[in-house]
């Protein structure tokens, strides 16, 4: 009889709540009880609130068990885990769990399903088919597909990917580069990480397709240092792809050659800004460059460079496989396709939800997220990382659409959604926005470097109740200056969360004593 397949994710969040220990315990108990099992370390499905999530293959179904602890394991075996037996932890077939079943999995469709380090598994799930198709049909066909898909950059700025690729393709040079931005510094975001841990070969394929489309023979991945597990999975996947001839010279017997170098960051948030990242990739301080020139014209080492986020690159394979029309058929207005939303912070069912644009923030927080973890009312939601506005609870019906967010003075960014309950003090959050900018500023512009430090001081005075009105005006002025005179969005958008607090939560600047009056 074939061995029963048991899946336990090898993914940072799952492991952070005990998945490695659970895997070891399953192996131990299986051996002791003579059960013939094959333990597979898959990626995470993204239902982080259910981690550690264990699955057992029974027939053609995978039966899930949620929030499994090491203490549960012997009992699970006694309840017939191997045959998907009843148990308090049993959730039923994984594909029937509503949190997952109702998603539009386009970019993350292999995450959770496959063994991320198995080339065979990857190839059985459309792996490298898009690259082969691209090699047959030629670069122009890929460029057209990406353009007509409406895909926009998922790193934050939402710039049309097709235009970027076309620009690099049209720029003559002896060398061009693909630089994958895997710096993922925004609080509340982890989609890049989940993709790289759960489907690293999918990213590699996307990068190779990008290289082929624009005529680049070399790619770099700039991975933040806070992700050591991701680093080990990704470097193994790169070796695997190289070993199988999917990276290197003459890929798929074509005359296209492409290889990838994995670089690691060093704890700087601003190095996620594309030009600071290029500086860092060149071995220098991560100081933001003035534009022009655009990286597409003069990027890494002065050569034309496509800088794209992990999720952007990984979305391309299925655009080539399944067609640009299908991608463009999802979403609303100028926000086409899907985004991997990340439910984070004070939320009952945190995790990754890939959905077509147009879903509302409320649907994500209530229907998927189940409201706050504390059970208290939502007070504010920060979308788009530390440079994103705090959205008050009465504006949650805003649809996830880049332009609709701009319309309310907010941004979708990389799709991180951080929920705060009514115990949060928003004056403190405004202070943190300024403090974070002061810590992370690359130092090139005065408004960002000095303004943020001044901002902290002014907010401290307001919280202490000193000349509150005067300081309020001063803070607004500071925000204006930072917004108007900063080179990049670090200084330019730190005012967004600050202003949103001034607009919607001004009462939080009053001390608790004053509030009691």
């Amino acid at each position: 009889m074939a061995r029963t397949k048991i899946y336990v994710p090898r993914e940072t969040t799952a492991i952070s709540v005990g998945a490695d220990d659970v895997a070891l315990e399953i192996a131990r108990v299986a051996k002791k009880s003579g059960a013939e099992i094959e333990l597979i370390r898959n990626g995470s499905w993204g239902a982080s609130w259910l981690e550690p999530l264990v699955e057992v293959e029974v027939g053609d179904a995978r039966i899930a068990y949620g929030n499994v602890t090491t203490d549960d394991v012997p009992g699970l075996f006694e309840s017939g885990l191997i045959t998907g037996g009843e148990h308090a932890r049993r959730l039923g077939p994984i594909k029937d769990i509503p949190y997952l079943a109702k998603q539009d999995r386009w970019t993350f469709w292999r995450c959770g399903l496959t063994n991320p380090l198995s080339l065979q598994d990857f190839e059985q799930h459309r792996g490298f088919q898009a690259l082969q198709k691209a090699l047959q049909e030629g670069p122009e066909s890929v460029l057209k597909a990406v353009e007509s898909s409406g895909l926009r950059g998922r790193g934050g700025a939402g710039f049309p990917t097709g235009i970027k690729w076309r620009t690099v393709a049209n720029t003559e040079a002896d060398q061009k580069y693909i630089a994958c931005n895997a710096d993922e510094g925004d609080s509340g975001t982890f989609s890049d990480r989940m993709l790289m841990e759960g489907d690293p070969l999918g990213l590699i394929e996307g990068m190779a397709i990008a290289g082929f489309a624009v005529g680049a023979s070399k790619g770099y991945i700039y991975l933040r240092s806070e992700y050591p597990l991701t680093h080990s999975i990704l470097s193994r996947a790169i070796d695997t792809a190289r070993g199988a001839g999917w990276l290197g010279n003459n890929i798929g017997d074509s005359d296209f050659s492409f290889d990838i170098e994995l670089h690691i960051g060093a704890g700087s948030y601003v190095c996620g800004e594309e030009t600071a990242m290029l500086e860092s990739l060149e071995g220098k301080r991560g100081i933001v460059r003035s534009k022009p020139p655009l990286p597409a014209h003069e990027g890494l080492f002065g050569k034309p460079t496509v800088v794209n986020n992990v999720v952007t690159l990984a979305s391309v394979s299925n655009i080539v496989n399944l067609g640009a029309e299908r991608y463009a058929g999802m979403g609303v207005n100028r926000s086409k396709g899907t985004l991997a939303f990340q439910l984070a912070g004070n939320i009952k069912r945190g995790g990754l939800v890939e959905k077509a644009f147009g879903i509302t923030l409320r649907e994500l927080i209530e229907d998927w997220g189940g409201g706050t973890a504390s059970g208290r009312p939502v007070k504010a939601v920060q979308v788009g990382g530390p440079l994103g506005a705090y959205i008050p609870a009465d504006q949650l019906d805003v649809p996830m659409d880049y332009e609709a967010f701009v319309g309310i003075g907010a941004m979708i960014g990389h799709g991180g959604i951080v929920v705060f309950d009514d115990t949060a003090n928003m004056a403190k959050q405004a202070r943190f926005a300024m403090e974070f900018c002061a810590i992370e500023s690359c130092g090139k512009c005065t408004p960002c470097r000095i303004g943020s430090t001044r901002g902290v001081e002014v907010i401290d005075k307001m919280i202490a109740g000193k000349n509150r009105e005067e300081n309020y005006d001063l803070l607004v002025e500071l925000c204006d200056t930072m917004e108007g005179a900063s080179l990049c969005a670090m200084g330019g958008m730190t005012p967004y969360p600050v202003r949103s607090v001034l607009n919607y939560f001004a009462e939080d600047f009053a001390s608790s004593k004053e509030k009691a009056l």
């Binding site: 993922e184 700087s268 912070g345 945190g350 951080v418």
Partner: protein
């Protein structure tokens, strides 16, 4: 963590082809292995990579990861970013400081306690990292267990 030595530093430089454009990668490697970048190492890197000492210094100073003082045997990082804030990271940090009798940024009793801004574990906040391993849903009790386990490994 091992003590840094000249020979290993040279080996790391050689493994990176002694390319000055790999300075950030070389430094990251050194910090990974030894925990910090002493002044002698700056000097050695400058000479082996054909860079000025000011160049190397500039890069070392710029990045948060590149410590210039020797850390403790264990490095404990507590996430201070927004998602973890919403789940009480401030309280957890205060508790940790009290339990370990030290402040953020300090090194004492074999431990270096540092802030970190997001570990990408925000669906299971608050998060901490101990010696390169990330832990989620950390309350005070779990913090104590994790610290005990860390010490038990010594």
């Amino acid at each position: 963590m091992a003590r840094i030595d000249e020979k290993t530093t040279s080996e790391i430089v050689a493994a990176h082809g002694a390319k000055p454009e790999l300075l950030v990668q070389i430094l990251a490697n050194i910090v990974n292995r030894f925990g910090w970048i002493p002044e002698e190492t700056v000097r050695q890197l400058a000479s082996e990579l054909n860079l000025s000492r000011a160049d190397v210094h500039g890069v070392v100073e710029y990045y948060h990861d590149f410590r210039t003082t020797e850390p403790g045997k264990h490095i404990v990082k507590i996430c201070q970013a927004e998602a973890c804030q919403s789940m009480g990271s401030e309280r957890l940090t205060a508790y940790a400081e009290k339990a370990l009798a030290m402040s953020l940024h300090d090194t004492a009793n074999d431990i270096t306690l540092e802030p970190v801004y997001c570990l990408g574990n925000c669906a299971c906040s608050p998060a901490i990292m101990i010696d390169g391993k990330t832990f989620g849903r950390v309350d005070e009790q779990r913090f104590n267990q994790l610290i005990d386990a860390m010490r038990g490994d010594d």
